[in-house]
Amino acid sequence: MRLMRIDVLNFKSFGGEVTIPFQSGFTAITGPNGSGKSNSGDAIQFVLGTRSTKALRAENLKELIFNGGNNSRAAKKMSATLTFTNPQREDGTRQLRVDTDEVAFTRSVRLTEKGEPKSEFRINGEKTTSGEFRRILKEAGLRGDGYNVVLQNDVTTLATMTAHRRRAILEDVA
């Protein structure tokens, strides 16, 4: 199972539709400061279900919707989609409990008439509950808060934190 691509629409600094395709192996992402590299990592965390928008450097869900930059109009809805390969294994099962060779997980936020953010979850385009969405990801070992995602400055934090805080990490893992 691997991540095939990220598709975002009006997610943070990605105004309009942007696709970021991934191949297997080792991919490097680069570009100038402020270009959107960490925001693409935020899209991964956003879909896989980070509890708090603060981890995405946003005060609330509304701040995750493209704000227009200095030249365009702010958007009213946004979405982020992660598409994974999901091949059938020798015993006939798949790692993700969805019966397709590729599975697309979409989380979106749109603003209601009153400007309130409303979240929606889709698997392969079909609406589903946030509970089912997270259960399927969790059962396949895909979590929003795992140590497979190392955010900018996590290394410095880990290196300089107190011994007690570091032991708490061990407890989390255990």
Binding site: T19, G25, G31, G36, V155, A174
Partner: protein, 166 residues
């Protein structure tokens, strides 16, 4: 609960010593529970001796890059304990010299045969070790886009952009 923590500690500690020796050849590192009898009353320290340094070296004395290499050894140790199908690293090489950049990128490259590795980086050495390259940019209007036809040469050229003008 205490037994679970001690078991996980043993496991991750073995990983840590192994990974640290790979990332800092000639050095040695291990984890230490400050209070092994009653682990929840103490913390978890990293005792690392980079190559050439005294065995009495304390973590707070380490240089910025040496601390980062120790922290990265811990990250890889936790990942070995609980493997994933993909890994995303955002600028973990900020204070690493070119040789340490290469050691981290090399380890990612080796491990990418078993899992997908995605690394955000501004460092030429790290860029040069990746198989695939993605460029992100924002035109003067703050809108993020992916750079088309981006490859290793284009990625390395971004870093040179300034040097060419010199």
């Amino acid at each position: 609960r205490k037994r679970r923590l001690l078991t996980v500690f043993e496991h991750i500690n073995r990983n840590f010593s192994r990974v640290y020796a790979i990332l800092q050849p000639g050095g040695n590192g291990r984890l230490r529970l400050e209070n092994p009898e009653s682990p929840f009353d103490g913390g978890l320290e990293m005792d690392c001796v980079p190559p050439g340094k005294s065995q009495k070296t304390r973590r707070s004395q380490l240089s910025g890059g040496e601390k980062s290499m120790a922290a990265l050894a811990l990250v890889f140790s936790i990942q070995d304990f609980e493997p994933s199908t993909f890994y995303y690293f955002d600028e973990v090489d900020q204070n690493l010299d070119p040789f340490n950049c290469q050691r981290i990128a090399m380890l990612c490259r080796r491990r990418s045969e078993a899992a997908q590795f995605i690394m955000v980086t501004l460092r030429k050495v790290s860029l040069s070790m990746a198989n695939h390259h993605i460029g992100i940019t924002h035109a003067g209007d703050g809108v993020s886009r992916r750079i088309t036809d981006f490859n290793r040469e284009a990625a390395l050229a971004l870093g040179d952009a300034f040097e060419k003008e010199m």
